[in-house]
Amino acid sequence: MSSDLVISNARAADGGGVNLHISEGKIRQVSSEPIVGAPVNCTEIDATHLLLVPGLVDLHTHLRQPGKEGAETIESGSQAAALGGYTAVSAMANTSPVADSAGVVEQVARLGREAGLVDVFPVGAVTVALEGKALAELSAMAHSLARVRVFSDDGNCVSDPLIMRRALEYVKSFGGVIAQHAQEPRLTEGAQMNEGVISSQLGLAGWPAAAEEAIIARDILLAQHVQSRLHICHLTTRGGVELVRWAKAQGIAVSAEVTPHHLLLTDESAVGYDSVFKVNPPLRTNEDVLALRQGVADGTIDIIATDHAPHSKESKECEWDAAAFGMLGLETALSVSALSLVSNNLMDWAALVERMSTAPARIGGYTDHGSIAVGANANLAIIDTQARWTVDRDQLASKSSNTPFHGLELPARVEHTIFRGVHVVRNGQLTGMKYE
């Protein structure tokens, strides 16, 4: 076990001064006064002018292992997460083999523990092999050592309404949630980018907003009907925000996420056909971006999730139609979100941290995360909100380099990450220490 840690002179998200004593992985003391009584050999982090927050929690992460270890591994993805200020990630099920059985989710969880940099919570597939035809053994995954609570066929939509209804009902017995990738498949056959002015000019097949909104509307009604919990993955449209706003007003148990890239980029990025901007769901219009920001600010959208999607060089180094969908997110999420929301005065840091840590921990049922409390596991991040840095795709911990933010100067830098009391990131660098 690592030595005691003392964090001094930090600023809390609410603006007050805060000092912290961590021992044996747990938070022992939280105080506005300097810590007294810590062992002399403890490690001290001088956090003067820095913001102390609960470690970030990602509800939507593609770690590619098992199956595509060339693009990312659970270890490299954990490194990227820790550098991004995360202490928990949710490994999506679209691996090879698919995480649709207790055996696979337990393997993912075990590899996460071995990496020891963040908690890796496996997401279980809703249907066998993500095919949308038959329910996977959801209960077996829930009661496995991996204790899965979030289920998603992400990458595919659970498009069959009856299967979706059954899934929503079935997970009620163990408090699960279905995270839906909302994409009506017939309306998006061959789709390459948002359908609109830009797609018509570029000659790329369109992905209409209605294809996302139709599924969101349907699933909201199903969740209401069977009184279960629905989570909407990566919301991208103004209409989707309106639907979720309506559902919440009716008291329906729906939560929604947005990605940092959908909060910043628009479909105009596709001009030039650089496939680093190819992502699913696609980048939308500026009007959508503004509605998404407003949705996060007013709480309609509960959380920001990365949809971190590493891809090997060869799956992006090609013509647009042939390129894989997806972009990196873990190492830039906090900064890109701060740029979209805090820099634009739509939210303060306290609200941003709620959307990136507290709320996703609550939705995922990750009880060790999302708060700073005496006696809890010390899962923390320390942020320099005044710093600026420039994204360099060749300097990322991810094994892939498909970030759309290469060369962009961003605000806010993660200085330290503490995972279960272990100082895994110091001054923006991995320390080499891990939780064992």
Binding site: E195, G196, V197, I198, S199, S200, Q201, L202, G203, L204, A205, G206, G272, Y273, E314, E317, C318, E319, W320, D321, A322
Partner: protein, 314 residues
Amino acid sequence: MKHLLSIDDLAIAQVHELFETTKELATITSGQNKKLPTLRGKTIVNLFFEDSTRTRLSFEAAAKKLSADVINFSAKGSSVSKGESLKDTAQTIEAIGADLMIVRHAASGAPRILAESGWVQAQIVNAGDGTAGHPTQALLDSYTISQRLTSGGYDFNGLRVAIVGDILHSRVARSNTALLKKLGAHVTLVGPPTLIPLGAPSWGADICYGLDDVVPTSDVIMMLRVQSERMKNSYFPSEREYARDYGLSKKRLSLMKSGAIIMHPGPMNRGLEISGAAADSPASVVLEQVRHGVYVRMAVLFTLLSGARDGIQA
């Protein structure tokens, strides 16, 4: 000009210059099948990832009339069908030796990726990419219009052009709209709403769902090839219904303005988008389009590979 990728990249002065070069090359080489030595020693590769016999032949004829060496690559039966990437194919072709690549690809943007990725140093000409663009087709179409309707001038103000058919899947429609607007023409896109992109109003053309509304007032009626497989995706219910609503029938031919011309990029589906009567009528300039295509492509290759027009020598 290093590449020809899109009409949007061309300044109006460059278009005029290309047309002047076309005119000059046509004058020098027409009739007697004369060949110019201008591009001797240059190697041009037809890099065709999608079948298109006529476009390939047109480029090949253009290159040969300028004495370039021509290598033809077609994806069928090549390593591409075994999964070779665009990058590897292009680099392989360049290693064999290519000063300029004429690229036809089913994916929109593929020629631009080749030109801008740094994978190859060769110059790139877009010979049709996905549903994005077909700039030499647009150039040859506007050149043909200038020869027929504006006495060789390139000011199309006052000309009304109707582009009819499957606008959604047509690179020809996109490039033509862009170039015709640049030259001052009034463009109307005509077709069933299922085959007109939702974003098309941003192109600066009018949109019309009824062919009969535009036939009597158009100076140019450009018919697009309709692929009957579109029917399977419910873009329209039947060939018969399509032909009735959007085919250039004998009746519609009779309603055309006097002096107006009919264009078609080929190959024509007689009886579907165009009747035999229209295709063979004196108003049809389809074969002129093909003839001009060779000269326009000569002008493009000449301009890209040897620069100034005053270098033309018989």
